[in-house]
């Protein structure tokens, strides 16, 4: 962050080789170097950037351990800038998670284990992966941040919980396959994500960084469309195309305060009412079928 509160973020909209960690790690190094040269202070890679997405049984072969030797390589990426990347992590109890790692100055700052694992349509994550059990924010050099991985953002409560922790930015690494043909210039998936991400930014008055990958896996196309969104819902920067790209955006971190003064939605949020009503709804739902 510069003295005037500006933060240059980079969204590494990249392709990954499916199950080839060495090649992907080398590619991470290249993109980190590009980002550093461009003055980026926070670089976000897509979901499972270290492994590729439709892994199936490759989940086991592609996993790393947080206390294992691969972590040294990953941590070394974050010497000159903060890095968010995606990996499969294997826990000591041999559960495998789809995780996003926030790295800074050679340290692991935070791990988010994807909570909502899509297992429908073309997705089969729960067959191979365990689901995370929490949404927690964490402190960075650039304010409080929270991470949600792809499908996590399709559940309103995830972003809402992070917002109540007072996050300045939500970071969403994604591996969203494009689908939904119409006469529109974008696929249906792209339209939906734009709507969801902008809505979260504006409703929760927070920066929203969405980094989606590109490339193809078994015929599925990843549509890119990575974007940085301001707390008023405006898109600051976006790569609409499905090419590999380093999307650069300068965030004026003071925008969060200004937006919350203009639209004190967070101040006015009735958290206790929400909790009580949720408790009541849950109580009733578990006692009588809908």
């Amino acid at each position: 962050m510069s003295a005037d509160g500006q933060l240059t973020v980079g969204l590494a909209q990249v392709d990954s080789a499916l199950g080839d960690l060495d090649r992907n790690l080398a590619r991470h190094r290249e993109w980190v170097a590009r980002a550093v040269a461009a003055g980026v202070k926070l670089l976000v890679f897509p979901e499972l950037s270290l492994t590729g997405y439709f892994l199936r049984d490759l989940v086991v072969d592609s996993a790393i351990k947080l206390d294992g030797p691969a972590m040294k390589d990953l941590l070394s990426l974050s010497g000159d800038l903060d890095v968010v990347l995606g990996a499969v992590i294997e826990e000591p109890d041999h559960r495998y998670f789809n995780a996003s790692l926030y790295l800074s100055r050679g340290e692991l700052v935070h791990v988010h284990r994807k909570v909502y694992l899509p297992t429908y349509g073309m997705f089969d994550e729960q067959r191979y992966l365990a689901s995370g059990d929490r949404f927690r924010s964490f402190k960075t050099s650039y304010g409080r941040a929270g991470m949600l991985v792809c499908e996590d953002i399709w559940h309103l409560s995830s972003a809402y919980i992070l917002s109540l922790e007072g996050v300045d930015m939500i970071i969403c690494p994604s591996a969203s396959p494009g689908r939904g043909l119409s006469t529109d210039e974008r696929l249906g998936t792209a339209e939906s994500y734009n709507l969801v991400c902008r809505t979260y930014a504006q409703f929760l008055t927070t920066f929203f960084l969405y980094c989606n990958r590109v490339g193809y896996e078994d015929g599925a196309n990843f549509w890119g469309g990575s974007m940085a969104i301001a707390p008023n819902g405006d898109i600051i920067a976006q790569e609409e195309d499905a090419d590999e790209a380093l999307v650069l955006a300068t965030l004026d971190l003071g925008d969060v305060r200004r937006e919350r003064l203009a639209n004190p939605l967070l101040r006015d949020e009735r958290v206790e009412l929400t909790i009580n009503e949720l408790r009541r709804a849950w109580h009733e739902r578990t006692r009588k079928p809908f």
């Binding site: 499916l18 199936r56 006469t183 499905a242």
Partner: protein, 284 residues
């Protein structure tokens, strides 16, 4: 039945596409799926019909014309117009081509089985063409690019291990009516887009006559049945005849085997394609 009005009638709105977006996705698909497995080239069977002409056009853009080999494989009863249409596409794109007439080997085989009906002969021809494509793919160091569209795949209107065989298929998720739109937009000659679709086993053959319905109608039906998961009652309320509904649903079901690997008798605890589940793009 009227002639297929591939361009003259308005498109059923849910099946209308943005051709530019689809073209981009499919060109990149061909580039990506060919190049990442270490190839630079593609080979395809070019019949002179709209599906293979479209795939040739997309492959030419994706890989460069010199990296595409179109193989034209007529039988003696094939319509001469098909060959000239195929050659027009070759010339327009500047891609490589090879003509291999399949008459000698087909006739040699059926001399022993003179009573074979059209279906057997058609399937044999489709498989003969497949073996030629795979042989040429080895010479040309190329992947075989498929041309079966979604309508054909769902209806099973194709020959298993014949025209349905390929390494990658860019058009398998496009209905015939969408193939027409895209083909027209990417510059496939209008005469090819507008001509009556035909498997071309003999001159004058028509897919739509053989199937018993128009692609336009069955595409609408398949859209509601497959993409939108309409129930039989809902399909009936849309105005489709009960006999037609039952016929198409049965066709889709009866041809499921063509869309899958052969059934493997399960014995071990880790069987190929059951518990042994790896992506096709493993390592790429």
């Amino acid at each position: 039945m009227s002639a297929p009005a591939s361009l003259s009638e308005p498109v059923f709105p849910p099946l209308a596409i943005n051709p530019e977006l689809v073209r981009k996705i499919l060109v990149r698909f061909i580039q990506n799926e060919v190049q990442k497995v270490g190839f630079e080239r593609g080979v395809l069977g070019l019949s002179g019909g709209v599906d293979s002409s479209l795939v040739a056009t997309l492959a030419s853009e994706a890989l460069g014309p010199t990296n595409v080999l179109a193989v034209i494989m007529p039988y003696k009863s094939s319509d001469l117009k098909s060959r000239s249409d195929a050659l027009q596409v070759v010339q327009q794109l500047g891609i490589n081509h090879l003509e291999v007439e399949i008459t000698p080997q087909i006739d040699a085989y059926f001399e022993r089985f003179p009573d074979a009906d059209q279906r057997r002969r058609g399937n044999k021809m489709a498989r003969e063409r497949m073996t030629i494509l795979y042989d040429q793919s080895s010479v040309f160091r190329a992947l075989v690019i498929g041309t079966s569209n979604k309508t054909e795949l769902l209806l099973g209107y194709g020959t298993i291990y014949g025209d349905m065989a390929s390494a990658i298929n860019p058009v398998g998720d496009l209905y015939k009516t969408q193939v027409w739109q895209l083909a027209d937009a990417v510059g496939v000659p209008t005469a090819i887009v507008q001509k009556a679709p035909s498997a071309d086993l003999w001159a004058g053959q028509s897919d739509e006559t053989e199937l018993g319905f128009a692609y336009r109608m069955v595409d609408q039906f398949l859209y509601y049945l497959v993409d939108r998961r309409y129930s039989k009652e809902e399909l009936s309320r849309l105005g489709f005849e009960p006999a037609f509904i039952d016929d198409i649903i049965r066709r889709v079901r009866d041809n499921q085997y063509k869309r899958r690997l052969p059934v493997i008798a399960k014995l071990s605890s880790r069987t190929v394609d059951q518990e042994f589940r790896y992506p096709r793009d493993w390592g790429h």
